[in-house]
Amino acid sequence: MSGWMGALFLRELRLSLRVGGGALIGVLFFLAVITVIPFGVGPDLNLLALIGPAVLWIGALLATLLGLDRLFQADRDDGSLDLMLMAGRPLEVLVLVKCLAHWVGTGLPLVLSAPVLSIFLNLEPLAIGAVALTLLVGTPALTLIGAIGAALTVSLRRGGLLLAVLVVPFSIPVLIFGVSASGAAVTEPTPFLTPFLLLAALTLISAVVGPVAAAMALRFSSD
C-alpha cells in the first residue's frame, strides 16, 4: 500500500532537485524579494526589524505560490497525469503525497533559509526562531492551498499568474496568524500560543481541503 506513495514521493523529490527542477530557485526568489524590500522602505534597521516577520512571510508566500504552477502541469504536458488518473490509486492521497514532496523540495529550503535572511532584516534571535517556527508550521498550508489553484489552472498556458490570483485570498488567514504569532513571540503581553495553534489548525484543515478539492479539479480537467 505504501510502496506506491514512496515511489511517487521519491520521483517528485528527484525531479525537483535535478536539472530543470525548481528547488533552489524558490530560495533564490525568496532572497531577491527580501533584498529589494530595503530599497523600497529604506535601510533603517529599527523599521526593518519591526516589519521583518511580515516581510519574510510575504516573501515565503510569493515564493511558494509562484513555484506551484508546474505541480500538475508538468505531468499533464508529458501524459503522466492521464496515467495517474487511471492508476487505481486514490487521487486525494496522490495529491497529498505530491504536495508533501513539493514542500520538502521547495518549502523546507525556504524555512531553512529564513534565519539567514532574518539577519538582513535585523531580527533578534527570539524573533528569528519565531519566524522560522511559524514558517515551518504554516508553509505546508500554503503549498496545500496552492495545489487547488495548480489543479484548477492545470490546462491553462498562462496558469502561473492566475494561480496566484486565485489562491491569494485563501492564503490570507495563514498569513495573518503566521505573522501575528511571530510578532507575539517578541512583544511581551500578547500570547504566542493562540495564533500559533490557529496556524497549526489551518495547516491541518488545508491538508484535508486541499487534496480533496485539487483531486476534484484534476478529475474535471481530464479531457
Binding site: A7, D82, M86, G88
Partner: protein, 210 residues
C-alpha cells in the same frame, strides 16, 4: 465465464461537438480490435472514453469478470501519443516509478508481469538503463513507454497509434508482444491507420457522418 470488455450505447461529446454516438462493442479475452477511420473522426476520443479519461455523454463501459473493486479504466493500460517520461530521470527510474505506482489490473496466474530489466531487454533498450531518458531517441522513448505495459499486469491494452515512430524491427517486436498478451487472455483496442502486426484482428471503422 471469460473476461469481456463491454461498451453499450456510447456517445461522446468534446467541446460541444458530438464525436460519435450509440456505439456498442464487446470484446472477449484474447481478441484484438483495430479502430480505423479518417482523421478527426474520434478514434482517440473512443480510446480516452474507454480509459475513463473522458466521461461519455451517454452509455456505459464495464469489464465483465474483472476485478469488481476497480473501474473499467483501471483495468486498462493507455498507450497514447505522449510518453509520460521525465527526461531528468534515468530510464530505469522512469520505469521503476510506473512499476510501483500503477496498480495491477488483475492478479492472476495467466498474467506474469516482467521485471523492469526484463522489459527493457525485451524492447532492446536495456543498454540505456542508467542513462537519463533525455538522451533517448524518439523511437527509444516510445519503446520505454511501451515497457510500462509489460511490467504491470493489466488485461486491457488501449493503444493509440502504437506503431508511430517505431522502426520495422520494433514494430515486429510490438506485434509479438501483442500476440503474447492476447494468448494470455488479454484484450487490445488499437486506433491505427496501418494494418496491425497481428494474425487475427477485428476492425471497427468510424466514418464521419455524411
Amino acid at each position: 465465464m471469460t473476461m469481456r470488455l463491454v461498451a453499450e450505447n456510447l456517445s461522446c461529446e468534446r467541446g460541444g461537438r458530438r464525436v460519435f454516438s450509440d456505439l456498442a462493442l464487446t470484446l472477449e479475452a484474447g481478441r484484438a480490435l483495430a479502430v480505423t477511420g479518417p482523421n478527426g473522426v474520434g478514434k482517440s476520443s473512443l480510446l480516452r472514453v474507454l480509459a475513463g479519461l473522458v466521461q461519455p455523454a451517454s452509455g456505459s463501459i464495464r469489464i465483465e469478470d474483472g476485478d469488481p473493486e476497480l473501474s473499467a479504466g483501471e483495468h486498462c493500460h493507455y498507450y497514447g501519443h505522449l510518453d509520460a517520461l521525465k527526461p531528468a530521470l534515468s530510464v530505469l527510474e522512469n520505469l521503476d516509478f510506473w512499476t510501483s505506482f500503477l496498480a495491477p489490473g488483475r492478479t492472476g496466474a495467466r498474467w506474469q508481469p516482467m521485471t523492469p530489466i526484463e522489459a527493457l531487454e525485451a524492447l532492446g533498450i536495456d543498454h540505456a538503463g542508467d542513462l537519463p531518458a533525455a538522451y533517448l531517441s524518439a523511437g527509444q522513448r516510445r519503446r520505454l513507454a511501451l515497457a510500462r505495459l509489460l511490467v504491470v499486469a493489466r488485461p486491457v491494452w488501449l493503444l493509440d497509434e502504437p506503431t508511430s515512430a517505431l522502426d520495422a524491427a520494433s514494430e515486429a517486436r510490438l506485434g509479438e508482444l501483442m500476440s503474447d498478451h492476447l494468448a494470455a487472455g488479454g484484450i487490445i483496442v488499437a486506433a491505427t491507420h496501418q494494418t496491425m502486426p497481428l494474425a487475427e484482428v477485428g476492425t471497427l471503422r468510424l466514418e464521419a457522418p455524411a
